[in-house]
Symmetry: C2
Subunit: 483 residues, 2 copies
């Protein structure tokens, strides 16, 4: 989902009444970011509180490339990383992940080896259907073992777009919450559904109900589900004890628009890019009785902050033996403070851009290559800002492209290099960048090596189901990351 | 102002708390349009309830050109047109216009000759300063006579952007409302301020207060003023007796962005064009005790509807001796009904596009000419939709370009001509267009002839002020309308 998919952010069909109400009862973040314009690194950052370049969720196979965890990825979340649920356990929390894990699917990367007590969902995206020869269908796990595969046991009808996955994930969430409330146990629920990712689906009740087509149907189902989760918390009488945060892992995939992709509002480009459309996210904090209703915050926020903020809520400190990028947002949320902090926009291990206050400096610009673009792959459809949405990797490190996001949220008008404003802003930004770079000790890159042998051929539990597939011979190769 | 300038429509700085609150207390229109992508025709349409092609506010000097009422325009609102205040008078209303009239500045076009009882404001935009030789400065009128000129008696500091005009216009509004309330007389106030038009200004208290720069300062001052007007109605105890509608006369002028121009959100292009960015407007109806708070309407609306709706509120019928394009919105506003009606997008006397339901068909496309574009005049900065934002006038009358505005509000993905959906939609649209064209009897075009002699050299009252200027010899010519 993108920033512009919410009614409260100006989606012209205004079809997210529950998220809009969540905002009116809680706090809306206008300047909230993900840590990466792609899913896996963004999710790894959320759960570790650390930039992907630190936690290993990046590639060095080529310069400034986005990478994620497809079925043939060899890497995953390193044991050395401390995940939010591992830490929350120490405060007595029960941790559940529902939906897409995306931090590696080999046995050592299983979410329950990294702090989660329960899992219902899948390790990868719901791509498919596959023939189980060249590629296996993606497994769906309950806890340690798979209980079926997408398209086989969990239907997704690509013709009609019908699938019940969001409903299943919703029921899992409601049941888990009920169970925890009954047992009076504190809980962390990571509701990481994989709608609205392409191929887009919705359940029958939502199909055809949106002005926006199938993508809008999926948004409406998510919106409806979130409304149900919040109401469930209220019904159980634990809403004032439960901090809820809604956000997304990257900008809307404009490449899939309009049928399978959403909106980043007036922001430039989308998923895969380090323009605002790729990384500015919808974000709402909700905690009745604590967060003032209808609050609006310009705090620069990041998914990594949810790590530190959650620890703070649980009375825990973030680890002191490593660099943590997330900050505690509670002063912003509860007292309306504005904490000075930068936002870094990475692609692979390259810092492409940085935001300091209302200024954003691009040190590198790239949408995608001419080669990919000529195949019709366009991350910025209908948008072309000369010298900005470049199809070659353009280095600006000696004279960064500078935008003022207040006057120019769409990144269309770079400031004049000769202006006083440019000089003043860049002086400040240069210090921030220098300080940042001094702290970066890159983790071992996890997204470099691909091997067909590591695909989901025989996940644990496959024997019981008769769903074990033949694993091909190992043949590790450098993964190809075109973007 | 543009659709995207309001917080409630996703402006990322969210700096319009009063308009956002007005929406939360009233009804927000998501699909509301102006009758023309330029000021004068749009305002003439609002006050007559008729398309500019009918009321004469268009040009035939060249094909599909926007035109307005600069100082040298010879034409203006014809006597044969019935304006809203003329009709409201019959129901005992006192009518006041505050701000920009823009329906002609020669004596016969004076607003008080067309139904208004009071006027405070100017006949044209606040362009200037002029030297009073080649061009006179624009007069400001109180009722029948000028009381000064912009830049001379009403300061606008182009260097700092400081001007008190919006404050003056606000005070006029508050005083008029107080007077009417005291005398228990029904009133129609047309608060037609000319901020945020370039050159953009704001009063000292607002200068430098917006994240968005000077343009945002102006928006904030308008927002603040509207809040004060609504509070004034409440304080006087007449809010439940007063219908208030907020809208704009054309899309944000992206050509002036980012310093002097606003935002049309994710809609395509801006002022001067018949893409959504040129004509989709912010719109809020407010009437406590009558309009359900927090309502949202997808009714296709148009500024011309304010004519018919206002008559309906006053218990009057629209004139039956002429074609009226505005509809009564009260069923949509009070009962949540959706009235089936098309929206026509004109440029000059050419119907460029039509919207029926969620479909919009372009019969002609044009942003502006290559010649103008090569001078840096760009109505679609950073946006380029191949075959859509064309720099030659492209005729599509035999096979219109069709967009689905629900799935594709940004008009980026024309439907395939061969699709069933295209065929079905165009069948319906063709009937609407045929019916519409059959009703169009063009008025005498008012915006064809320009003459330096008709400028504001010696407006009534100039003698008292010693501000009469020497009128040059008459030399009528065809006005040049490049866009």
């Amino acid at each position: 989902m993108g920033w512009g998919d919410l009614g409260v952010f100006g989606e012209p069909s205004k079809e997210t009444p529950n998220l809009d109400q969540m905002a009116s009862e809680g706090m809306l973040f206008l300047d909230f970011y993900t840590a990466n314009p792609l899913c896996s690194p963004s999710r790894a950052a959320l759960l570790t509180g650390r930039l992907p370049v630190r936690n290993g969720f990046y590639t060095t196979n080529a310069h400034a490339r986005n990478a994620y965890t497809p079925q043939d990825i060899v890497g995953g979340i390193p044991d050395s990383e401390l995940l939010l649920p591992e830490l929350l356990k120490k405060a007595g929390y029960t941790n559940k992940i529902i939906g897409k894990w995306h931090l590696g699917h080999r046995p050592q990367f299983h979410p329950m080896k990294h702090g989660f007590d329960e899992w219902f969902g899948s390790p990868n995206c719901h791509f498919g259907p596959f023939d189980n020869r060249a590629l296996p269908n993606i497994p769906v796990y309950r806890d340690w073992e798979m209980i079926g595969r997408y398209y086989e046991d969990f239907k997704i009808d690509l013709k009609t777009g019908e699938a019940n996955l969001t409903q299943i994930y919703l029921q899992e969430a409601l049941d888990f919450i009920s169970k925890q409330q009954a047992s009076q146990q504190p809980f962390f629920l990571y509701w990481a559904i994989d709608a609205t990712h392409a191929p887009v689906y919705a359940s029958k009740r939502f199909l055809g109900t949106s002005q926006r087509g199938l993508y809008g149907d999926a948004v409406r189902e998510i919106d409806d589900s979130i409304g149900k989760i919040l109401k469930h918390l209220q019904k159980l009488g634990i809403s004032e004890n439960t901090f809820v945060f809604f956000t997304s892992d990257n900008g809307a995939a404009l490449i899939s628009a309009p049928k399978q992709g959403g909106s980043n509002g007036r922001f430039l480009c989308g998923k895969q890019t380090t323009f605002e459309g790729g990384m500015r996210e919808p974000a709402i904090a909700w905690w009745p009785g604590h967060i003032p209703a209808g609050g609006v915050s310009h705090q620069l926020g990041n998914v990594m902050d949810l790590f530190t903020t959650s620890l703070s809520l649980a009375g825990l400190q973030p680890p002191s033996d490593r660099q943590i990028d997330g900050i505690d947002l509670l002063p912003a949320i509860l007292q309306g403070k504005l904490i000075d902090r930068p936002i870094f926009y990475y692609r692979g291990n390259e810092m492409m851009a940085v935001r300091v206050g209302l200024y954003k400096a691009h040190y590198w610009t790239w949408s995608n290559s001419w080669e990919e673009y000529s195949k019709g792959i366009d991350f910025c459809p209908g948008q072309n800002v000369s010298g900005v949405t470049t199809h070659t990797q353009e280095e600006h490190t000696s004279l960064p492209l500078l935008f003022h996001l207040g006057r120019d949220p769409g990144e269309k008008y770079p400031l004049s290099f000769a202006s006083d404003e440019y000089q003043r802003a860049m002086e400040q930004i240069s210090v921030v960048v220098r300080q940042h770079k001094a702290t970066v000790v890159p983790g071992e890159p996890q997204l470099n090596v691909c091997d067909k042998a590591v695909m989901n051929w025989s996940p644990p539990g496959c024997e019981k189901l008769g769903k074990c597939l033949k694993q091909p011979k190992s043949d590790p190769k450098k993964c190809i990351w075109p973007h």
